[in-house]
Symmetry: C2
Subunit: 420 residues, 2 copies
């Protein structure tokens, strides 16, 4: 064990058992060194973690003080409050701690922070050049998407990238989404004055997510992919292919991307790393058509880069060293095994319900009789996506991404008590 | 000196003097440990830095290879190419390496990376709760802006925040900017269908940056501030107060914020940390009016957070520990002393030109006769903002933010040779 962790625990215990009370001042760093016979760095690191975890607060030039125990929870994000209310999260896309080697990521961030010269300047509007090169190589190898780095735009999240896209394609008026689940995308287009609906045959822009077609986790069959490409080539409409979750397909083999299938210059390809890495890292990218890339180049001065430069530098090297691929395999194994476990448990515990495992192997669907109230879920501290609830029948979509494996049987017991 | 730096230098020299050539394989980490009698971690860290600096590339499962020397420059960002062309940057807002204690920031990032639990979930749409609390305290103390954390929205850059704002204030049609310099802001409003102009008396939304009113670096006088507030209260227009550079005012004392001066609920206050910290960190924030904060709350699901969660956590603690204030003082001292040096040098070397130091003490303006061509600047590897060029007279605005102090006399010599 590292010494600083011992010092951390020492003070944490004093605070938790009340020996150090709210407002009490901690020994100065120098005094703590003497009392505990450790180095200054050790104490500093321990105090740092106590600060980060909200046990103490540092008052400028005065010292370190124990916080109100109430305020410890204020220090955590609002999320924390929700977590207290929700014991079993079967809804969010959050990650569980086993899914990501955060120590490895830390090394890359530390290395990026050493590129001091680069951090002093604003990030390239389009995204760092070396990251775009690494992305270009990665998607060519992985998804057969061939695009030079100058057609790739990096940004903090798909919503931001869509707003850049909206600014580039001003001559279009209608956009279609496969269903109404992607609210952030739909409302963005609405804000830009688009007519937004779900009929792709009436749309200038067709947003699809072929590996994750609906809230049910359907994968778009090959036949529909070709239909869609044919249609867009005939009408000149632009397809936005949001390829998220494609990495996770396991039951069906990964299907070719629309971008690779289409011979024409009418597919904008989008990808993101929030689900392969951790949600806290906000880096997405899009591959523009040649025509749109030209427009971007001509109006570059209109945009600002939103993604963290440090994280861009770190991600570039992380991809180059091949970690994305191994991380993807790890997450896929982990999430699909949780989904399978959830599926098996529900089958066993709720034999009367119709249970299916989504195409992409990441979601479980339940169709069951239900005479209760939808607030029953929250009351029982479980969160689920309710797809449909009418005539005494309920359809639930469950995502076992955030829940720990060991909690799955407990969550299913709660579901059983609610649905029966 | 740390051992890994010695190992780094060892290989760097071998590569630079050609003992290790393009495509040559470096010893495996284990072999390098034996050859150099150092630990595995030491070699790993050294290889990491060689990777980050583009000297070597890691080929998945195969080993580390020396890159093409040409490709070393590919590894750097596009910026690098520009830097080679431009020797004296008197235009950009980039930072110089003396302005920021990056080691200290690294400690906060490392500490944030240890909050593993928080990094697993998506960031709060509105920004991390603890950061918003810290921001609320900071702007109250610093700028007398009193706003509870639930009115603060965090995001990656002012442009993104403006797009959130546009989405919230749908009933408005016209916006005014003080001049045409803030292209990213103006074009965003245009994209949202606004009529954009520079006459505030015809606008539903009035964008101002009182501490940095024009490209000349003027500070808005008190009288104009009160006029503007009066006008907006009478007409119900919204003022967007972009408070960037307010921290840097030195000649005039910091003037009160419009937000603090206005008794009504009609000022949206914006701030950013890119210029106090380093441009690579993308965190800005805005304080919504009560009315707009309500709308945001009701339509939260429409937005995604764009700022890096790691950097939000780090910044929160950095602010709490009082470093923003000391960093601000440091940057202000450093930049204003550079501006003063530039001003004095130009006065001396170009006695016939009209030279002024901008109100905010950060810019130098030159009015001079000029019979050359504006491409002369780039040809002479110096970048400047040309405000006006007609009838043989040129007006330049110079920002000595990125340039090193020791380069200022050389840059002025170049300016002299161009202008004479």
């Amino acid at each position: 064990m590292k010494k600083y962790a011992e010092v951390y625990d020492y003070f944490k215990k004093l605070i938790e058992n009340g020996a150090l009370k709210t407002g009490d001042r901690l020994p100065s760093i120098r005094n703590a060194c003497n009392i505990l016979s450790v180095s200054k760095t050790t104490v500093q690191n321990a105090y740092f973690d106590l600060l980060a975890d909200g046990y103490i607060i540092s008052v400028n030039k005065s010292g370190y003080y124990v916080t109100e125990q109430k305020s410890v929870s204020d220090f955590k994000s609002e999320k924390k409050e929700k977590e207290i209310q929700i014991l079993y999260d079967l809804k969010s896309g959050d990650a569980d701690e086993e899914s990501f080697d955060i120590k490895l990521w830390q090394r890359y961030i530390k290395s990026a922070l050493r590129s001091q010269g680069r951090l002093l300047s604003y990030s390239e509007v389009q995204g760092e050049a070396d990251l775009r090169q690494a992305l270009s190589d990665y998607i060519r190898e992985k998804r057969n998407v061939t695009a030079s780095p100058d057609r790739i735009i990096v940004g903090a999240g798909v919503q931001w990238l869509l707003s850049v896209l909206c600014s580039l394609v001003k001559d279009r008026k209608t956009v279609s989404f496969p269903d109404k689940s992607f609210v952030q995308g739909m409302s963005l287009f609405e804000d830009y004055g688009y007519d937004v609906h779900t009929r792709y045959k009436d749309a200038d822009i067709i947003y699809v997510s072929p590996s994750h077609m609906t809230a049910y986790g359907d994968v778009m069959p090959m036949k529909r992919r070709l239909e869609l490409i044919n249609y867009s080539e005939k009408t000149g409409s632009i397809i936005i292919e949001d390829d998220f979750d494609s990495d996770f397909l396991y039951q069906s083999k990964p299907t070719p991307s629309l971008y690779a299938l289409s011979g024409n210059d009418n597919v904008v390809y989008m990808g993101s790393f929030s689900n392969v890495l951790i949600p806290g890292i906000r880096i997405s990218f899009m591959v523009l058509t040649q025509e749109l890339a030209k427009r971007f180049e001509a109006s570059k001065h209109k945009f600002a880069q939103t993604a963290s430069k440090t994280e861009q530098i770190a991600l570039c090297q992380y991809i180059r060293d091949g970690h994305i691929s191994s991380q993807t395999r790890k997450v896929r194994r982990h999430y699909t095994s949780k989904a399978r476990l959830l599926f098996d448990n529900i089958k066993k515990e709720l034999p009367d319900a119709a249970v299916t495992l989504g195409d992409n192997g990441l979601r479980v669907l339940i169709n069951a009789d239900f005479s209760g109230d939808i607030s029953d879920f929250e009351k029982n501290k479980i969160s689920v996506s309710i797809i449909k609830f009418e005539d005494g029948k309920i359809t639930l979509s469950l995502t076992p991404s955030a829940i720990k494996e060991c909690d799955i049987p407990k969550a299913v017991a709660v579901l059983k008590s609610i649905l029966n």
